[in-house]
Subunit: 215 residues, 2 copies
């Protein structure tokens, strides 16, 4: 129990991080209906999420991954660095397997999709509070679609990004200060990893998987 005449089970403190006010309002409304869950803070970016975590040390965090200032993955990394037992649940729209992997690697205890039912979100929160992990079947399926091995190196991502901006091999080479043969080899390796055989498909596959982003 807790303070005073509280007859309910232990109350759990929830922190929400999402840059969309509408989404924060929706999560807040749903969580407020649960007698054992309290919202202790709402963050609209990663920086604020980290600060509010330090301040309140909530029992669970619902973390969006695409946020301005500081991304959700980076926020998770910073939090788990200081609080390895932090229970963080990533909650985003599906935008490729890359984000899921990065979030879980950074220490997230689960990964939810925004098109899930609200009842499933609540269930997931309780599961994480219990100390368990949460990977919905829908998410697990998508992870299984791609071999874990298809990660691109920093250099490869850099080159692929420039290729997506329309640079030729020669222009990419100049941009990164290397010979254009080097760029060609990198692209060949990228094609092999992504299972494609031309630069355009490499870019679209990488975008679909969330390995690179536009802008």
């Amino acid at each position: 129990m807790a303070q005073g005449t509280d007859t309910s089970a232990a109350r759990h403190r929830v922190l929400i991080a999402d840059d969309h006010p509408v989404v924060r309002a929706g999560l807040a409304a749903v969580i407020a209906q649960e007698p054992d869950l309290d919202i202790v803070g709402e963050a609209e970016n990663g920086e604020l999420a980290v600060a509010l975590f330090r301040q309140h040390q909530p029992d669970v965090v619902l973390m969006d991954l695409r946020m301005p200032q500081l991304g959700g993955v980076e926020a998770i990394e910073r939090i788990t660095m200081d609080f390895p037992d932090a229970r963080i649940l990533a909650l985003t729209t599906y935008e490729g397997d890359a984000d899921i992997r990065r979030a879980l690697r950074a220490g997230a205890r689960g990964y939810l999709l925004k098109d899930m039912l609200l009842s499933d979100v609540i269930t997931a929160i309780r599961t994480v509070l219990r100390g368990d992990r949460v990977i919905p079947a829908a998410v697990a399926t998508r992870l299984a679609e791609y071999p874990e091995r298809s990660d691109l190196t920093e250099r490869e991502l850099e080159i692929l990004h420039l290729v997506g901006r329309g640079l030729s091999n020669k222009e990419v080479a100049k941009a990164i200060g290397r010979m254009d043969e080097t760029v060609k080899i990198h692209l060949k390796n990228i094609f092999a990893k992504l299972g494609v055989d031309d630069r355009t498909e490499a870019v679209t596959v990488a975008l679909a998987r969330g390995l690179i982003h536009l802008e």
Copy 2:
């Protein structure tokens, strides 16, 4: 104050269409707080949105554009075809200027972004109820970034989509049953319209502007 001894102004009936339960909950929570606004229905796809509009004929609709079954733009078209005076407000995340233009062309009275403040969403709803249009400065700015003339034809979109899937000119030609010289000319026209000079950038620019989508 409610029914019976209603001293408030006329109550307005709102329909929400969004495929994310969390977003619907957020909008519902915010709208429920306004004494003059009532939610008369929630749709999770375009089909349902059209059906619920026919049934309730609400005073205003908040319409997400990316939904399964039937997209928001198509839903707007169907509704305004039968109800030219329907007040529909598109409310989505920004995913290129194409969606905005299509929504407004289909008859939307305004276009809101999901990262807007809740107070601005409420204000926009009231503005549309008054019969006025709502285009936030942030949206107008993005529209102005691109010339209206850069629309692609059906054929061009079809080709660009196939190119994005990694098909060569020859493969595209076979896929659409035309000579590959034809494909080359189409691509040349596409480049000119989009202001790029290679296929990869054409695809990424089209994706960024929402002219084509992955899958």
